[in-house]
Symmetry: C3
Subunit: 250 residues, 3 copies
Amino acid sequence: MIHKSAIISSKAKIGVNVKIGHYSVIYDNVVIGDNTIIEGFCEIGYPTNLADGNPLIIGNNSYIRSHSIFYEGSSFKEKLVTGHRVTVREKTYAGLNLQIGTLSDIQGDCQIGDYVRTHSNVHIGKHSKIGNYIWIFPYVVLTNDPHPPSETMLGVAVKDFAVIATMAVILPGITVNEHALVGAHSLVNKDVPYGMVVAGNPAKILCETSKIKLKDNPQLSAYPWPRHFRRGYPDSVTEEWRSMFGEKII
Amino acid sequence: MIHKSAIISSKAKIGVNVKIGHYSVIYDNVVIGDNTIIEGFCEIGYPTNLADGNPLIIGNNSYIRSHSIFYEGSSFKEKLVTGHRVTVREKTYAGLNLQIGTLSDIQGDCQIGDYVRTHSNVHIGKHSKIGNYIWIFPYVVLTNDPHPPSETMLGVAVKDFAVIATMAVILPGITVNEHALVGAHSLVNKDVPYGMVVAGNPAKILCETSKIKLKDNPQLSAYPWPRHFRRGYPDSVTEEWRSMFGEKII
Amino acid sequence: MIHKSAIISSKAKIGVNVKIGHYSVIYDNVVIGDNTIIEGFCEIGYPTNLADGNPLIIGNNSYIRSHSIFYEGSSFKEKLVTGHRVTVREKTYAGLNLQIGTLSDIQGDCQIGDYVRTHSNVHIGKHSKIGNYIWIFPYVVLTNDPHPPSETMLGVAVKDFAVIATMAVILPGITVNEHALVGAHSLVNKDVPYGMVVAGNPAKILCETSKIKLKDNPQLSAYPWPRHFRRGYPDSVTEEWRSMFGEKII
């Protein structure tokens, strides 16, 4: 299961039934869970002094696609899934089944909850705090420095079920609250209230998310999105959502 | 012509005079045309169930630069050219001489005509339909989900000779019509009429493209662009353009 | 110090105490300074006719992180530092201690001064002229074609101590003057005056940079930033800044 061209440190702790692809490099300070797949050209546990000696921990049943780089000192629970060319730095702690899109860049010192999905080319700045069941779409940037360059770091907070659409920039210290929706190409410079849609440069509050209707069924609201979108989540989650949001519609 | 470190499936169909670079991987379900160059660190024909068993077909005389990834199940006519670190997923069907810039990401299920050029870091969402002779500049995103996340996919359509400038986002289901120009950093939420310039967030119609004059010759319109820009197109195309747009100016 | 899997041209000129990582490729026309580290999966001196035969020169004590690509024909003084997956094309001439963030793309024919820093995913178009002590943040694009596509190239100029925040686009031929600050997600279509803040789409002048106060100490201006931020610069620079800006505050 380990390609003969892979370079594996004898110090790395590798679970059972792990697959490691062509030319990938596994460094010393790494714990890889059982049944995990690491594709080709990856660097896993890239050394950094900033990790303070803490290992990279990849949970069981994870899937890291090719050309990805994970620094030592971060930790991911079960079923981490990545696209290609992902970069994740040190001291990021993520929950269950984080999905990271191709080319996304998680800068380190981040807290990420369960079942978070980022699409391609998302940039998550240091000190971001991301809740559960969140969606972040391509080219979104979560910033952190209110007057760059400086030593001040004010991470962005994104709360449960929030959605940030393509190419939005969230300014330092901003909170995107539960069930909020940030429109595409927005610059968000104020906290986004619970369940509201904001959009524009700078972003303004447009309406409640419930005002957005499904294109295929205009009598139904598109938000909260777990009412109609449950693909890719395990039964334990969709069961919880059934009690929170009712039966899946459509 | 095949580097000794390349890993080539015996099932791959590889044309004559093909060059494959250091450490590249050619998977099973691949047809590579004659005289094609694939540089180093590439993955060609990356397997996916979503390809329904269809091969990746790369036309003759193509040039794929290093660190690029092509999934199985897509097809490219002659003279595909890519920058570095390109990602192209399954079920994308492209015409002649597609040029894809460094770091660009074509998400799959796309239709692309002849002589389309994308610059660096362009993101083409699933179900995009792109005509002929189109230019797409860095960090442009073609989206597809009108209320993310959802199961609804409304691809963007871009028609012949249209130009989309840097960091524009085109919202789901929008059509950018023939000879239109989308200004840099625009958010396009309405169809763009034939031959018009739109710009802003949200984008508004500014003027006809013919109002934009060449910096080096302010008496001449910069659009339609094939009047003055024909570099990199074959004689068969420029001959056709001569009948459509007259002799090349300047 | 040279990994056994690295592929090194016998024509490359490699200094003393140089480290070259796993699977990296060093091409012919390359001069690598002493004590430089080149990590894995890199391509250094990637051949191009556009270099007119000029070598790639990497100064002493440089550090190029993994998966990076440098074309022949560019030149970097001492202490170049890069993130991962950087791409730098031909005929770019940079001064001391350039730092290039992960995924950034320098397109070639650029002039870059001393102690310039780009964060991740910055796109520097051809013919950009960048001064000294400049900061450019994620997803910024410096453009160059006033009516794309065309043969006209009007590079952007960025002057000493200027700062360009996340996802700003600078239009062709624009000058961002000394000590100016371009706000996040701005579209800059006019020259930015000395020491002023601009923001918006299109960007407008907001105020003098001195009006922006430090979050941690609101009685002090955050700009000029060298008054409070000197991390990562050598003594020779901070000594000069002491005479220009006084003692470091906080």
